[in-house]
Structures are given as C-alpha cells and as structure tokens.
C-alpha cells in the first residue's frame, strides 16, 4: 500500500509532506479539538500512532463505540463546540451508528472519523469491511469517503464546517487505511465554501415585520421555544424579547434552560408530559411564535385536533424543511434564531412596533394563572417509599439548580425534565428525538471532561444504565466524578406505564429481574456506591455524594415501583385533554 505514497514529492522548504494520519491529527489540532473519544482497531492504527506522538489532542478510550459518540455528543451539547469521535472499520462503525443517529435527531454537531479497509480492498468483502457511508447516510447531515490523501485536509475542513453551521448535525468521514499511510503536502484551508451549502442566517425583514404585526394584534399570544434556541446560543435574546412584551412562554424537552425555568413567565414544558398550563396555552393561544422548535408529535399531540383551534403561527427556523412540515404556518421566517430575535427586539425598541394590548394580555395572564392554579406537578409524597419526583427536587436544591444534567430514557427522564428547573441553557443533555437508552452515562463523561470540577449528574434508570454500564470503567480511568442517580423502580417504567394504561396491566417483559447490586457493582469498578431505600435518607445521600468532589458516586435509589409520570396526553388525544393524575385514569 505504501508504494503510491509519494503522491507529491518532498520539496525543500515550504512543502513538507505528511502522511494521511499526520494530516488528520494536524487538522484536529487546527480545529482546536481538545478531546477525541474513540476506540482503536486495525484500520485506524496509523491514526492511533500519530495520536500517540503528540499531546495536544487528548484521546479518551471508551469501552464501546456507542459511548464514544454519546460522549462526544454530551461534550458538544454543553460547549457549543463540535464533538469528535474516532472508530475503526466494520464493527467499530456499526457500533457507532446508534450514537450518530441520536446526535442527528437532536441536531448535535459531531465529526465522526471511521477507519475503512484499504481502497483496493473496498467491495471485496474484506475483513471488517462494511459500507459505512451507505449505512450512515440516512442518519448524518453529510458523509464522505476519502479515497485520495490529497483530499483529506479539505474534506475534514468541510466536515467541521457542515457539522457546526446551519442546522447542526453529525458528519462522518470514512478514511481507508492506505490513505492514512500515503503522503502529500499539508495545507489546511483557512476558509472554505461550498456552492451547494449556504444556510440562511438573516431573517427576511418583511416577514419579521409581519410577525410583529401579528403579535401586536394578539390577544392570547404564546412563545413556543425549542432546541434551536439552545443551538443558536440565543437564550438571552429569547429572555429579553419575552420580558419586553410580557409574554408567556413554554419550551420543549430540548429547549429547557433557554428561558429561566424558575421565572413566572415560563409555563413549563410542553407536550405529552408537559404542564397543564403550557399545553392549554398552546392549544388556546391566538398567535403562536415558534422559535427553533419543530412541532414534534410529542409536543402537539394529534395534529388534526391541534389545527382545529384557529390561531396564527409564526415559525422561526434555520431549516426551511422544519417549517410547514407537520402544521401549516402563516408567517414562515427562515433564519437563525439569534439574528431574527435581534431584529425583532431592535424593531420593538426603535418604536417600529409594539406588543399586544395591555388589557387583552392581562386577561390572558389571568386565564393562565387559573390553569396554573391546578398545580399539575403536585404529587403525593410519602414517608415510607421514595418518590422519584422528590429525589429530583432534592437534587435541584442540593446543587442549587446549577448542575449539568444528563439523562437516559424513560420515566426518570421525564421526572428530571419536570422537576429540575433549568435556569440556564446547555446544562441539560437528553436524547429527545431518538430516545436512546444508554445515552446518559457516556454523555455525562463528555460533559465532565468539558467542565472539570463542575457538578455533573446522570439521572438514569436501572434499565437504561445497563445499556452502557461498562463506561464505569472509563470513568475510573479518567477520574470523572459524575454523580449517577439511578431511579431504580425494578421496571422498564415507561414501558410498564403504557402497558398499565393501554394494555390492561399486562406487564409483558417490562419487569427487570435479576438486577445486580448496583452499589457493589460501582465499587467493583473502583467507585463509591450507595443504596438508598428511605425517603429520609435522600437528601443526606445527595449531600454526601456531591461533597465527594473527586469520586464517582452511584446512588441507587429504590423508588416507588409503580409511580407514573403525570400529566400525560394519551396518543392521538389533543393538548386540552390531559390526564393530570392517577385519579383521572
């Protein structure tokens, strides 16, 4: 394979040639990548050799490639930077697919580098060959197969550009082994542009004016914000506009933290497990300003039912295909949330427009307060058995509402979203779109590495944690003092809840039998493990855990086995048809 390695000749002076592997590492350095999460194998040996010879790009050795991608993803969610993962060909690449799809659904910027068999072996059913570009095509923003070392640097430059701009997303770069050994001159392009890729950033001013006119005439306005506000780092602007106009606002699971969760103007999370006041306001508002949210089915419930209520919809999104996809929109505004909100604020401040009339708005707020008076998030606490909601409330207290929180998927995820009131963006990492069990712990690793010394909690369930439990070993190796809160109900709780409500209490395969002693398991990995069975011990255990600044602590909370997540909108039902508690069933 090295015969063709002198594609470009060594020239004196300027153009020193580098191998493909050296080029990859140099590109990562140019992009100021501080961590690469990965796992080695045959096709990436040259790359690992180059990583070994330098110390600017640090490599984190996970225990499964899925975790490498989730860790890069967690890192990206809290830093606004591109997360990077490195995997070998064949099984390394297929193991990474779940992580890539998770990032794709939530629009998280990643560059995933995969090894590939040598170019001459492609298509020969070579050892550890899979069509990685083909397999990942539907779950990446874009991908590349680099067949010529001379294309390597520009391809990586494009990958970082595509991943991090417009609607962010994962980009995969597949590199055959021989390409990493071949040599050529290294030039990292400063700027690069693609003729077929020009995301619209600035919103159309006529449309923005129309939007403000609608808001001016509104009697029951609502701001509906989503993950796009986090991705655009536009939380402050959203907060400013919301306060300027005294509007109520509500967020999606992905948007949490974009507007202070403890503020009066925040009505809570929307959707299936959202608050009563948020969903009622969404249903009955007359002007809806949607910013960086995609009208997901978990949020609007039954589309036909949602559309029965007359209302005008303004939709700000950087991706035109998000607009009018599920619901017809009256004022589409394609652009970056940050720029569009800026324009709205300056038009309002310069007197070009004003908000809704005070009387109408006061009446609307009275209606909202009445809905809020239902106190939909109340729950019956107990002295005997630990209630999961109580654990999250205490976590919020103990961490002063300022922890970084990663979750897995299930009931515990919803309780985390409902009871941990995020006041800041980029504190919350959860798999919303794909709903990937196993995401939590590796994501927490990426977060802890990004923010050493900061409190990081992983809220999980006894089912989910076992999908990536091997990462306890990675946590030991890199001394990651994550606090794992397992809300252990001995059930695949979210599945059990649906079986209880929709399948006549037949708990088919949702009981988690033969569970390990998690506290002991954590100890076996060299961490601290605590099992908590009494409500009275919850707060003490949390305080002890967070006081142990250098230890990973696994908190196994034995919670009420059959607690359900409320409020809840049943599939196919409308937003104004919520089950508020077990009594409504």
């Amino acid at each position: 394979m090295v015969t063709s390695s002198f594609v470009c000749n060594r020239r004196l002076g300027a153009g020193m040639t580098l191998t493909g592997a050296e080029i990859v590492v140099r590109c990562l350095q140019e992009e100021k990548v501080d961590y690469v999460f990965g796992y080695p194998g045959g096709s990436v040996l040259y790359l690992y050799d180059e990583l070994f010879k330098q110390d600017r790009v640090r490599h984190v050795l996970v225990r499964h490639e899925q975790a490498a991608v989730h860790a890069a993803d967690g890192y990206a969610r809290v830093t606004a930077r591109v997360g990077v993962a490195l995997v070998t060909s064949g099984p390394g690449a297929t193991n990474a697919v779940t992580g890539i799809a998770t990032a794709y659904m939530d629009s998280i910027p990643l560059v995933v580098i995969s090894g590939q068999v040598p170019t001459a072996a492609i298509g020969m059913d070579a050892f550890q060959e899979v069509d990685t570009v083909g397999i990942t095509r539907p779950c990446v923003k874009h991908n590349f197969l680099v067949k010529d070392v001379r294309d390597l640097a520009t391809t990586l430059k494009k990958a970082f550009l595509i991943a991090s701009t417009g609607r962010p997303g994962p980009v995969l770069v597949d590199i055959p082994k021989d390409v990493t050994a071949q040599r050529c001159e290294f030039v990292y392009p400063k700027d690069i542009s693609l003729r077929s890729y020009n995301p619209v950033i600035k919103g159309h001013s006529g449309q923005i004016r129309k939007a403000l006119q609608l808001l001016h005439g509104a009697r029951r306005p609502l701001i509906y914000f989503g993950g796009g506000v986090v991705l655009a780092d536009a939380a402050e602007k959203l907060t400013k506009l919301t306060r300027l106009l005294n509007l109520p606002c509500a967020g999606t699971l992905m948007g949490l933290g974009s507007y202070p969760g403890t503020d009066r103007q925040f009505l809570g999370m929307l959707g299936m497990h959202g608050s009563y006041e948020a969903n009622m306001a969404m249903h009955y508002c007359d002007v809806l300003l949607a910013v960086g949210a995609r009208f997901d089915d978990r949020v609007i419930g039954n589309t036909a039912h949602f559309m029965q209520e007359p209302r005008k919809i303004i939709h700000v999104d950087i991706d035109p295909s998000s607009i009018s996809k599920r619901v017809k929109v009256d004022v589409p505004i394609v652009g970056c949330v940050g720029d569009v909100l800026d324009d709205m604020i300056s038009m309002l401040e310069s007197g070009g427009s004003t908000g809704p009339g005070k009387d109408a708005l006061d009446a609307w707020w009275r209606q909202i307060e009445e809905w809020r008076g239902r106190n939909c998030m109340s729950y019956k606490n107990s002295d005997e058995v630990i209630k999961p909601q109580y654990v999250i409330e205490k976590l919020w207290e103990v961490t002063g509402g300022d922890a970084f929180v990663a979750t897995d998927v299930g009931q515990h995820q919803m309780w985390a979203a409902q009871y941990y009131k995020f006041d800041k963006p980029r504190r919350w990492a959860t798999s919303g779109g794909l709903g990937t069990m196993g995401f939590g712990l590796p994501a927490a690793m990426g977060i802890q590495l990004a923010h050493p010394g900061k409190p990081v909690a992983c809220i999980t369930g006894e089912g989910s944690i076992q999908m990536c439990i091997q990462e306890l070993s990675t946590c030991k190796q890199y001394r990651l003092p994550i606090k794992i809160l397992s809300l252990n109900n001995r059930y695949l709780g979210m599945v059990r809840q649906w079986q209880q409500i929709f399948h006549g209490n037949r708990y088919s395969e949702s009981y988690m039998d033969s569970l390990p002693d998690f506290a002991k398991l954590a100890e076996a990995y060299g961490h601290v493990g605590l099992q908590i069975t009494k409500p009275g011990d919850v707060e003490g255990a949390l305080r002890e855990a967070f006081a142990r600044k250098n230890d990973l602590v696994f908190l196994d909370f034995q919670i009420d086995q059959t607690e359900n997540v409320f409020p809840m909108i049943q599939g196919g039902k409308g937003l104004n048809d919520m089950i508020l508690s077990a009594e409504d069933l």
């Binding site: 570009v133 095509r137 539907p138 923003k141 003729r195 077929s196 991706d319 295909s321």
Partner: protein, 163 residues
C-alpha cells in the same frame, strides 16, 4: 398532482443514492428518475417525476435542497416546459407484421434502428403519453422487449436552470 423536478447536483459518488434514499426513507413517490453529467463535468442533472399534494411537493423540494450534494432544485412543471422520453422497443417483424410495424413507426415519427429477418428495434422519443399510445397501438403480442429512459424535462423560453 404530478410534478417534474429538475435538479443540479454535484457529480460525486453517492449523490444519486442520497437522492433516491431520501425518497424511499420519507415515503415519497418516484415515477421516474434520470440522471447524467452535464457539459460542466462537475455537475449532474437529474429529472425526477413524482406526485403528491402541494404540501408534499414543497417538503420534497425542501428536503432535496437540504442535501449537501444538491446545488439547485426547480419544479419545471410549474410553468410551460418540455418533457421527453426515449423508448426502444424490439418487436417481432415477420410476414405482414413487417409492413405494419414500419407504417406505425412512421405515423409516430419513430425510427427503425436495427433490422433482422424477424425483428426490428424501434426508437421513439416524445412525451410519456405519446410513448404510451404507441405501445397501445401496436400488437402487444409482438413486443419482445422494451426499455424506456424515464423523463427529461426543461423549461420553455427564458427560464434556465444553471449555476
């Protein structure tokens, strides 16, 4: 509603599967799809014939535009345009059928491009309907084999799809 979408895309390995994969993944219809490089070797031009409501067509064109390899998308069927398809059909041509096939080919302004003692290959271009009616007009028992190119479309007049 039937629509004819024209695309300019990067002439890169995999660009075609990105487009066809998009249609299958999102459950959009493809009636026909043709693609070939253009006079600018870095670009391919594709014509996709699809059908769907206005909302679906709008989504299709947004989703196509979102693909990094897609440079431009237009719905040529939105305005006056020309559609052409090529048909090659091999027919049995013996006895009295030999004259009859020749006559039909002339009527439809086709050409016979291959001749043996017992068969012809007939070439015909035109709209989809014209090719359909030719197929309908000849004796189906005599068709040995046929192949159609799928539709190519181009706007009339000053409308140009170019970089």
């Amino acid at each position: 509603m039937r629509h004819v979408l024209s695309l300019l895309l990067e002439n890169e390995a995999g660009a075609l599967s990105r487009v066809s994969g998009l249609f299958s993944a999102r459950g959009y219809n493809i009636e026909s799809l043709t693609v070939a490089p253009t006079e600018d070797a870095s670009l391919s031009r594709m014509t996709v014939v699809t059908n769907g409501s206005d909302e679906v067509i709008e989504q299709i064109s947004k989703q196509l535009n979102k693909l990094i390899d897609v440079v431009k998308v237009v719905d040529v069927s939105e305005a006056p345009h020309i559609e052409r398809e090529l048909l090659l059909v091999k027919v049995r041509a013996v006895g009295k059928d030999r004259e009859e096939m020749k006559r039909m080919t002339e009527i439809f302004r086709g050409r016979i491009v291959d001749v043996t003692d017992s068969s012809y290959v007939i070439e015909l271009t035109g709209t989809q309907e014209k090719l359909d009616s030719f197929i309908g007009a000849i004796d189906s028992a005599l068709i040995l084999e046929s192949v159609r190119s799928g539709i190519c479309g181009i706007g009339r007049g000053e409308r140009v799809l170019k970089l």
